[in-house]
């Protein structure tokens, strides 16, 4: 079995981290653009800043993991990955390479625009930030989608070979990206000195949490579609999906790790806090422990999703010969 896994933990982490960063950047840029016009009030910049600072880190780290994982790197050809830049073709990996490169570039510059003392070489800081935000929304979404397309492109891997994987990865990216921002905000002190700032903080957390709940809802729908379509199909896909169904070798990580920890429990917890505010306009007040645990669970779930999908795709193939 082991011999069959060509893409192991480094790739799984990479897919997860790229999605995480892409999600965080998209959320950051989106919130920034919605800005005052949205419901975030003044806090939008803070939220955007969190996202902006966080986003490049997992992506860059993930890319390095990917490079370490290359066969060429492992035999000592340390810079052979440069060959990726010698060609542009329709390979999702080639597209991904360019996207990620662009992503890393724009996200870094975007992050810089949030650093007050960073010299802007005579550029208009706000203008640049806004322009980059406009770029980063589609770019973040593209990176998130690409991680799914990378897997989905192959008929040889029936488990992956559906657009739902890309959709699922996109939703998960946005959800984990949001969770990352929530988590960081909970981790780092300084909810604001005055009451208004506090209120803003909680309000934007509410908005973020609410969006996350929605995203999780969509994810659950996407997973349902994934399973039901696979189940209704005869042949390869149905066969492949059996590894995550009851009794399958990946049933536990899938149902516990992805569904329970990553989706159902956070969704319930989030609803528990969101609904009173949403329906009864009560105060949105979340204990700090929950503020940390829920996004952490979402992030773990996001990782487990990559794990299960990447492994499941590799241990199943077309049936028949």
């Amino acid at each position: 079995m082991v011999a069959e896994i060509y893409w192991g933990l480094p790739v799984i982490f990479y897919l997860f981290l790229a999605g995480l960063g892409a999600g965080a950047l998209t959320v950051s840029a989106y919130v920034y653009l919605r800005g005052n016009g949205g419901a975030f009030g003044e806090d939008h910049v803070t939220v955007a800043r969190y996202g902006a600072f966080l986003a490049p880190i997992p992506v860059i780290f993930g890319c390095w993991l990917l490079i370490f994982e290359l066969g060429s790197f492992q035999v000592g050809d340390w810079f052979k990955w440069i060959n990726l830049y010698l060609v542009i073709n329709l390979s999702p990996m080639s597209i991904g390479t360019w996207l990620l490169t662009l992503f890393i570039g724009t996200s870094l510059v975007y992050a810089c625009t949030f650093v007050p003392f960073m010299p802007m070489l005579g550029l208009n800081r706000e203008g640049l930030k806004r322009a980059l935000a406009w770029v980063n929304v589609p770019l973040g979404i593209s990176v998130a989608v690409y991680t799914g397309v990378l897997l989905g492109a192959m008929a040889a891997r029936p488990f992956w070979n559906t657009p739902l994987v890309a959709l699922l990865f996109l939703l998960s990216s946005l959800s984990t990206g949001t969770a990352l921002i929530l988590f960081a905000r909970a981790m780092l002190p300084g909810k604001g000195a005055d009451a208004a700032a506090k209120k803003g903080f909680h309000h934007s957390n509410y908005l973020l949490t609410f969006s996350d709940t929605l995203l999780i809802g969509f994810e659950i729908v996407a997973i349902f579609l994934f399973l039901i379509f696979a189940y209704l199909t005869v042949g390869d896909v149905r066969h492949a999906i059996s590894v995550i169904m009851l009794g399958g070798s990946l049933a536990v990580p899938f149902w516990i790790g992805v569904v329970a920890i990553g989706l159902i429990l956070p969704a319930l917890a989030e609803l528990y806090y969101v609904v009173p505010k949403l329906v009864y306009h009560r105060e949105f007040a979340v204990p700090r422990s929950i503020e940390l645990i829920v996004p952490a669970a979402v992030i773990v779930g996001g990782f487990m999703l990559r794990y299960v999908v990447v492994i499941a795709g590799q241990i199943t193939g077309p049936i028949g010969i």
Partner: protein, 251 residues
């Protein structure tokens, strides 16, 4: 612009890859290269293929070892192997053999996904090759091949697989696995030459390819292959597929 249909030499291809850097225009055009190599509509180009007459295959593994020796393939990796398919209930039991290698597909998924262009289908003869000087070992092609014929060569760190013994074929020799085949079960030749042995046999025998549903259009054909799979066991029949590879299960 360069003649995109001609990708005969890798160095030419290299130049072109460099060109790709120069401007998006050329670069995007690069996409069309593998496509251009597809389809032997011209009819004059060579299209190498193999026909494996399973009736004659005695499962002797001479092909597996010939291939191993020819390329000194490291232990644990295989370019060529033979699967044993045992099925039926006592005393009506059969065992047939399914020699496996790269199909040199007409629509090779491995080529489509390769981000560096290291894997490509040679225009002049249809052989799908990996250029180890370009390949970075990302393993994408390994995932994409529906036949599990690719692996990372632990010595070069690059993707590896059967190359139809390009180095022999270009010298007028048949591939190593064909040369020693005890059953003369493997016929190698030009599919586009209607006088070649392989064309003649293809024309006069019912043949099949593996996993036709993958849409890869293999250029390795089989006569009388047993397509039984372990999944047929669900239908209540005893089926045992043995691959004799480190990856014991067929994928």
């Amino acid at each position: 612009m360069k003649d995109q249909t001609d990708i005969s030499g890798v160095s030419e291809r290299r130049e072109f890859l460099k060109g790709a850097l120069a401007g998006a225009g050329t670069a995007v055009a690069a996409v069309s290269i593998p496509k251009a190599a597809r389809g032997a509509e011209s009819g004059t180009k060579t299209r190498y293929g193999m026909l494996i007459d399973v009736r004659r295959c005695i499962g002797c593994q001479a092909c597996s070892v010939a291939c191993k020796a020819e390329f000194d393939v490291p232990l644990g990796k295989t370019r060529s192997w033979v699967e044993y398919v045992e099925k039926g209930e006592y005393p009506n039991v059969s065992r047939s053999f399914l020699p496996r290698l790269c199909n040199h597909c007409e629509q090779p998924d491995c080529v489509d996904v390769c981000p560096t262009g290291a894997t490509f289908k040679r225009d002049e003869d249809g052989i799908v090759v990996v250029d180890p000087d370009i390949c970075i070992g990302c393993k994408y092609c390994i995932q994409a091949c529906p036949y599990d014929v690719r692996f990372i060569n632990p010595i070069t760190g690059t993707a590896d697989k059967c190359d139809f013994c390009l180095h022999r074929v270009s010298q007028g020799l048949v591939p190593a696995c064909v040369e020693s085949c005890i059953g003369d079960a493997r016929i190698f030749g030009d599919l586009n030459d209607s006088h070649s042995e392989i064309s003649k046999r293809l024309a006069t025998n019912p043949v099949s390819v593996l996993r036709p549903g993958m849409g890869t259009e293999p250029n390795v054909y089989y006569i009388a292959a047993d397509h039984a799979d372990e999944s047929d066991r669900e239908k209540g029949q005893h089926v045992r597929v043995t691959t004799h590879r480190e990856q014991e299960a067929r994928r």
